[in-house]
Symmetry: C2
Subunit: 640 residues, 2 copies
């Protein structure tokens, strides 16, 4: 990327990085071997594939027999094509790793459906073509056509890179070319943009893959046009004679939900639907880098600071409210009814990754890592077959949650997509420098220079980095020192070094030769974290963390009434092996108190007694995988 | 009462008890001098009086010009007649105390409107007659006709007792006779009952005033018919061709809201709308006493225990949810969004008072007192001109509340009604015994025997009871020892006595002579109260009480961010005079800590520092009378 300006860093691509064994390869294998097949069955059962079939008359017939038909709701959701596309993307990445003829057949089947559904002008969207053919590009506010196009394009780029085939890429390019023709400021074009940002991210990937400037131009147009006045969605609604009031009860602008309340560059506080906001700002940050656009980059940085300083759960979740699946006011971070959608944290991860290319600073990697190991990974069960769409920080009483085998199909394939593309987020290069952002067992290659990383993370702080190089070469290596590491030590070929650390990155500049070996060890003590006062739900409470992991209590380990447990300031916790669980998981075990439940009336003159008790915590991502029961992250501090 | 059976105690009536000066007379005067006039103006401004005018064609004309007209909503609420009736009741009680020609004229004006509106058959309801004449007794579920009839009857009884005039009583009896003719199990009668219990309470008052058994019979019919199967409201809806689903999303039975989900005697847990439930069970308890019906009394006692053991705020509020203005599950007592309607606590007060006549036990008086001094009295401002309909236990951030000059007109006149009739709730008699339930400056007379009570309550624990009697007489006096009194001492004519205490009542049996003087002193220390664990909102928190009063913190005394204040277990509080406020009010002052608000990011490795600070508390009833700001009852305990 950044072809035009050379501004900033460039992420090493999927082709340059191979993830190998260890924590994340286990997850990638699980997704490839189990989740993909499970999701394929769910997509089939949901009717996603039916919806793509050519004989749409049959569907219409069923629709007429159905009371929802008039509203056009039968035939599934407006975003079903995107779910299929996300699945294709994950499946393609899997095929890159391993031959799987059955999977390949499924992939080709779905690609065939897209091919058959595509119109001669390039347009394809099974929901619109089947159910609302007259609504084509008539309701960008609600109908997700460009969002679906975006996921199709992204899947096509990955499919092409992963398999070397261009069948799906042909479909995607025809569609993208259609979008280029139809959208813009020229006469006869639609001067609009999608209610759900995503196509912007796709266009930059397509530009990256094809180097066709028309995709860059359309991407830039979408970023700059969004939120301009007069409001496009109002004009569009009037044009289709839809005079119903829109989101009248929505706090603030009704268009904040779709990031169309004001131009991107005018935004100072993050608002609206969290996924939409993050996708937009990730794409905007990428554009800022591409164009060397400092003003746009400053906007993105301002939004990042706003999200991470006042609207971020300790688990890396964002978007606390279910009403708008999004942001509310500063510090409004309830635990039990946290929305914290898995996809929103994925968006935050993508956004942070872009800002990281502009400025090497560990805050971006810290928050990407926080989101990844906690709010994102909690979205999938340890067996790869069930999911959380929302990621609350407490679950008990009337708010008790369990994982769903499917539910809203948006998050499961999106999470699988992120994990299957993780290799593209670990390293960056810039001139003769390579930066390691995330420690994952992997091999990174650049111009005959190879880094081989082995790590104990997330459960141990030891990292080994081995260099292989065709010829000795002067290269600067940057190593992110995570914010949670109270101390770090480094040796090179056994000799201790004390590298300069700047903005959270340790820097070693020297000629490297094959066999050079860096040992980088992080202390990862168990920590009690205390929340800012403004967050009402966490007053008088602590959370336990170790390294990148946030921990939680579960009923199955601690008994019911988790909120009766309290921790004194000197609570002594130690890691504890959990051979009953995968990942080489370490729990925490320590001592606290359990408030006794009284039975002497509602209000008493004495506090309830508290008995010393053992308290066991598990990584947050692992909750909800055993007997259903209570869970909580923020634990009461013992009172005096 | 209890003419037929002589079962239980009998409350001394309004005519036997005179409240004189002191705390409650100040409130009665404020209501008589200020609130009544304010409410009259609000009723006029709201159109209550317009709705009673005879020229209804004018109203219909306005309705047709109004978009709500089709739904029949213009012309005000279905319960407006009841608001006028409540006002009449308060005004009548005022006229008993003092001549006020202007007030008398208003009273006569409204009585005239009722007279003019009444149909020859006795029916009167200005809303139905004006707006829905064809709906007369066609929708008892929703239209509050019998509820309005009930308040009219109650007002008429009080007006007759207070003024000796029977104009309004004539109207009420004609209406009541119409109800007797129209409702029941005979052919041609409506086998139904009102969606909002109230007429049951009115019928017993009318029976009490007139000794006409037909009113007792109708009252008994309503209690016994309610909730029988098949459900009357379903049949009624079908009869008017209303096939819309009813309260489908309501948890549990859709008819719990109007106490029609099952027969009264089958109920074991209190459910539904809190005011409706309390009015019903107060009337049922009264009937149980009247009929000597042990089964019904046991039902009432079971419901009382359920309410007070698991659904009662520390302020005496009940009905925590706004969705149904009522009850949810056990221990669901949120503070900020507590509904705790003023009228619901009034209903609880009435219910407790009835059970108290069945069984002399201090729990009833304790809870009546708790409701009266806290959740009920908080419903009116110190200047008598603004009101709380809901009575939350915390107010800050997005839930901040302020008093309303009117809002829903149900509570303000109902609260005024209770306070103006308070004399009827203080004493009971049974044979040669008199029980004092509530210590209020007052004189109680029975058969030439007079008790004159002077009290320091609610701010001091000293009580003096003087006897006047025409001839020395052997009488047993029962004195309630409040649950909050850690100690009590009694002297008779200066000599210390140690009376036997049973079920919370001290008992002195002896011959009394004029001039006998009992001094009864209660300790009323400042107490920290701790809540049962199950109430999530109060974990790690304490409330401050003194005597019958619950205290709260207000921003105007303590600064913003009240929830940053914490109290150690040994927090030393003392009473503090508040000459800036009426009632001889005592606040509390003590020491606590204030958690410092950090500005170092959302999550930190160290807890925020806490500084010692002075904490000031005020009686809960007095909150919301100065600068608007935060308030909270449950204060965080200091953590260690």
């Amino acid at each position: 990327m950044n072809r035009s300006t050379g501004f900033g860093w460039q992420a090493l691509r999927r082709g340059q990085v191979t993830i190998q064994d260890g924590f994340w390869q286990r997850w990638r294998d699980l997704i490839g071997e189990t989740t993909l097949a499970h999701e394929f069955e769910e997509l089939r059962a949901d009717g996603h594939l039916d919806a793509m079939l050519l004989d749409r008359r049959m569907h219409r017939g069923r629709a007429l027999a159905d009371p929802w038909a008039e509203a056009g709701y039968w035939g599934g959701s407006v975003f079903w094509d995107s779910d299929l596309a996300k699945w294709l993307e994950v499946a393609s990445a899997r095929l890159e790793q391993t031959r799987d003829p059955a999977l390949e057949a499924h992939v080709d089947e779905i690609i065939g459906l897209f091919e058959q559904a595509q119109r001669p002008d390039g347009y394809v969207n099974s929901h619109i073509l089947t159910w609302r053919p007259h609504h084509r590009f008539k309701n960008l506010r609600d109908l997700h056509e460009l969002y679906c196009a975006g996921h199709l394009i992204e899947a096509a780029v990955v499919h092409s890179e992963a398999t070397g085939q261009d069948r799906l890429l042909q479909v995607a390019r025809r569609f993208a070319d259609h979008l280029v023709a139809r959208f813009g400021r020229e006469p006869g074009q639609i001067r609009g943009y999608c209610g759900h940002p995503e196509v912007e991210l796709a266009l930059l990937r397509l530009y990256d893959a094809t180097e066709e400037r028309q995709y860059l131009d359309l991407w830039r147009y979408f970023i700059n046009e969004r939120g301009q006045s007069p409001n496009f969605f109002e004009q569009e609604a009037a044009a289709r004679l839809d005079l119903r009031p829109f989101r009248q009860n929505h706090p603030g602008s009704p268009y904040a939900y779709m990031q169309a309340h004001e131009p991107v560059r005018a935004q100072t506080k993050v608002v609206g639907h969290a996924v939409r906001a993050m996708y937009l700002f990730a794409a905007a940050a990428w554009l800022a880098l591409e164009d060397g656009d400092d003003e746009l980059l400053a906007t993105c940085e301002r939004i990042w600071q706003d999200v991470t300083k006042s609207k971020l759960y300790i688990t890396g979740g964002i978007g606390s409210a279910s009403e708008n699946e999004g942001f509310t006011r500063d510090y409004d971070l309830p635990n039990e009814n946290a929305y914290a959608e898995t996809c929103a944290s994925i968006g935050l991860f993508l956004f942070g990754h872009r800002l990281l290319q502009a400025r090497l600073h560990s805050q971006y990697g810290d928050i990407m890592e926080l989101a990844l190991y906690n709010n994102i990974l909690s979205g999938i069960s340890l067996d790869g077959r069930s999911f959380f769409y929302e990621n609350p920080l407490a679950s008990h009483g009337s708010h008790r949650r369990v994982r769903w085998p499917w539910w809203c199909p948006c998050c499961p394939p999106n999470l699988a997509r992120l994990i299957s593309s993780l290799s593209g987020f670990l390293y960056s290069e810039k001139g003769q420098s390579i930066a390691i952002h995330h420690y994952v067992n992997s091999e990174a290659r650049k111009d005959g220079f190879t880094l081989r990383v082995r790590t104990g993370l997330p459960y141990a702080g030891n990292n080994t980095i081995e260099v292989q190089t065709e010829a000795p070469v002067e290269t600067t290596l940057f190593f992110r020192i995570p914010g949670w590491a109270t101390q770090h030590t480094m040796t090179i070929n056994g000799a201790e070094v004390t590298p300069r650390v700047e903005h959270g990155y340790a820097m070693i500049q020297r000629p490297w030769a094959s066999g050079d070996r860096i040992e980088l060890n992080f202390d990862l003590p168990i920590r009690m974290k205390f929340c800012r006062f403004e967050v009402e739900a966490n007053r008088g409470r602590v959370a336990l963390t170790r390294g990148p992991l946030v921990y939680c209590l579960e009923q199955v380990d601690n008994g019911a009434d988790l909120d009766a447990l309290t921790l004194p300031p000197d609570a002594d916790f130690a890691p504890e092996e959990r051979p009953d669980l995968p990942d080489g998981m370490l729990g925490l075990v320590g001592s606290g108190f359990r408030e006794q439940v009284r039975d002497d009336g509602l209000y008493a003159d004495e506090p309830a007694a508290a008995q010393p008790t053992t308290v066991r915590a598990l990584p947050y991502y692992a909750w909800g995988n055993r007997e259903p029961g209570e869970m909580q992250v923020w634990i009461r501090r013992a009172v005096r």
